[in-house]
């Protein structure tokens, strides 16, 4: 088995034992990346940085100073600012932007010895569920069942395609409404969105600041635990990052969930739910029951209102965050006509630089924050958000340890199949994941089975705030019981 297909845990052990060098491991990934342009996953390749970091990691490993991520080759979502390397958030408005600084997450990963292979495709400004809004073009799902090219999901579509296609051992993602968990489910990998505040947002291009959280996308739950450990922790540069100790997440994987209470929210049993999703969900519940957990029915009564609340709050915050793209300090500036003033510069720059979906969300956000509508839309949505969070608090207060739901309403769909659809239809992809962002909770998607066409399907587990360790342990039990080992057949 070629080293690029290894897990972080296997590579860590092999590196420490000297069975492979960090350079050889990195080369295996770089070779796989060069042969995978059809996947559209890596949009800026950084082989020189990777090999330099691999050599440094090698020296550290030889010296016996090897944290878990030392020498591990990763892909980095284009949303993370990386010093001297293009960081465009998949938008033309950031064309040519190369940050003079490094995001806190990548700084921590590099300090731990991780290797950056390059930057990964995504939906523009992380707005999308299919990676079709990217200025780089589509990322493509390594899974394929007929002639169609399928979406890897979004917004972290490049990250999901890269991990599922074994181009890297793992990748960073970010999740504002499901952007780690939905693509993870579509590609048969693991993705965790940590509790809001667990991971620093500093240096990550902002979409909706009260919802954004970065997290790992990996081949196994154990890898998610190792990777999250290296990303998490307090950062004085992000005032919303929590000053709480980061527990040993890998040590939490005991495989014992006897006596734990797992809630199945009845409101997630949506009208028109596909039979195979319903079966996957009840199979998952049976697996946790067999492992000694108690399965209980719970109610999260405001679930139905999560999507409309999200699509008020996220665009509102986005319209404010994206106001900074004005053609003055960085990125694209439109060519101006004689006599154009500063307003024309703003308007032409933003019309040229932002794609359709981003423009739509910025305008929706502008509208719901405008005089006369602020109370009717934005404040009402924030009140509903408080109720959604209270639903979860009441479930946890009643003794529920984790909540099990489907991760997505379907398996991956074909690229272009939703292009004529109403934007709302695309938004429905987030129906099971968006509540978790609104409530600031940790959520993880675990691959559990294949649909009848042979495409991966995932289940989501939702945990108590700051209890990522316990959540990962539940996910670990589900992963072991499901025994999902299917891999896409290489066609690229």
């Amino acid at each position: 088995m070629s080293a690029n297909s290894w897990t972080i845990a296997a590579a860590r052990d092999a590196l420490r034992k000297g069975e492979i060098s960090a350079t050889d491991l990195t080369m295996a990934c770089l070779t796989a990346i060069d042969a995978a342009d059809d996947l559209g996953a890596f949009v800026h390749k950084t082989p020189d940085i990777a090999l330099e970091q691999a050599r440094t990691a090698e020296a550290r490993i030889k010296a016996g100073d090897a944290p878990s991520m030392c020498g591990i080759p990763l892909g980095i979502k284009d949303l993370f600012c990386t010093k001297g390397v293009p960081s465009q958030a998949a938008s033309n408005i950031l064309g040519g932007f190369t940050p003079e600084y490094e995001s806190t997450v990548t700084t921590k990963l590099f300090e731990a010895g991780a290797v950056m292979l390059g930057k990964l495709n995504m939906d523009e400004f992380a707005m999308g569920s299919s990676n079709e809004t990217s200025c780089y073009g589509n990322a493509v799902n390594p899974w394929k069942v007929d002639d169609r090219r399928l979406t890897p999901g979004g917004s972290s579509g490049g990250s999901a395609a890269a991990v599922a296609g074994d181009l890297c051992l793992a990748a960073t993602g970010t999740d504002t409404g499901g952007s780690i968990r939905q693509p993870a489910a579509f590609t048969g990998i693991v993705g965790i969105k940590p509790t809001y505040g667990r991971v620093s947002r500093w240096g990550i291009v902002a979409f909706a600041s009260s919802l954004d959280q970065a997290g790992p996308m990996t081949k196994t739950v154990r890898d998610a635990a190792i990777f999250l450990q290296a990303m998490a922790g307090h950062d004085p540069k992000d005032s919303t990052s929590a000053d709480l100790p980061v527990p040993d997440f890998e040590a939490a994987l005991t495989g014992d969930i006897r006596g734990k209470k797992i809630g199945l929210p009845r409101e997630y049993r949506m009208e028109g739910m596909r039979a195979e999703i319903e079966k996957l969900w009840s199979d998952g519940a049976a697996m946790l029951r067999d492992a000694g957990a108690e399965i209980v029915d719970i109610s999260l009564p405001h679930t139905k209102y999560a999507l409309p609340a999200y699509y008020v709050i996220a665009p509102a915050e986005a319209s404010s965050n994206l106001a900074r793209y004005d053609g003055v300090r960085y990125g694209h500036r439109a060519k101006l006509a004689a006599g154009d003033g500063i307003t024309e510069m703003y308007e032409k720059t933003r019309a040229e630089g932002f794609g359709k979906e981003v423009q739509r969300r910025v305008m929706i956000g502008t509208y719901v924050l405008s005089a006369g509508f602020y109370d009717a839309y934005y404040n009402r949505a924030r009140k509903v958000r408080a109720l959604i969070k209270r639903d979860f608090e009441q479930a946890f207060a009643a003794g529920v340890d984790a909540i099990l739901t489907p991760a997505t309403p379907s398996a991956a769909f074909g690229l272009g199949e939703m292009s004529s659809a109403d934007p709302i239809e695309m938004y429905l992809n987030d129906v099971f994941t968006v509540t978790v962002n609104l409530a600031g909770l940790p959520g993880i998607s675990v691959p559990v089975g294949l649909d009848k066409q042979g495409l991966p399907l995932g289940l989501q587990l939702i945990g108590r705030p700051w209890e990522e360790g316990d959540l990962l342990n539940h996910a670990y039990v589900l992963e072991q019981a499901a025994g999902f080992v299917a891999k896409p057949t290489k066609w690229w």
């Binding site: 003055v328 003033g341 509208y367």
Partner: protein, 95 residues
């Protein structure tokens, strides 16, 4: 809530995004569709509920009000589309 063409034009103006006149009807239609979807929020009884300001009950950290950074003019200007003599350059703002 239906958005007419004038409102769409005004929203585009507020957002500082140029939209051609010919594209305004389609934009108004799309925005109306999304806002209609949001109308569901009116079904919820929110009496006595405070709008959420922070998703985790945390007090934001404060730090000493002091300079921790600076003297990086060339780095600050490095990505500017137009920088001259140590400044960001823009079209004429004042007549």
């Amino acid at each position: 809530m239906s958005i007419d063409i004038d409102t769409a034009r005004r929203v585009a103006k507020l957002a500082r995004i140029r939209v051609e006149e010919a594209d305004l009807p389609a934009l108004a239609g799309e925005l109306s569709g999304i806002l209609t979807f949001m109308e569901q929020l009116n079904e919820v009884d929110v009496t006595g509920v405070e709008p959420m300001t922070s998703v985790t009950p945390m007090r934001l950290k404060r730090r000493k009000d002091e300079v921790t950074d600076g003297n990086i003019q060339s780095q600050v200007l490095k990505n500017a589309p137009d920088a001259r003599e140590g400044f960001f350059a823009v079209p004429k703002v004042v007549e």
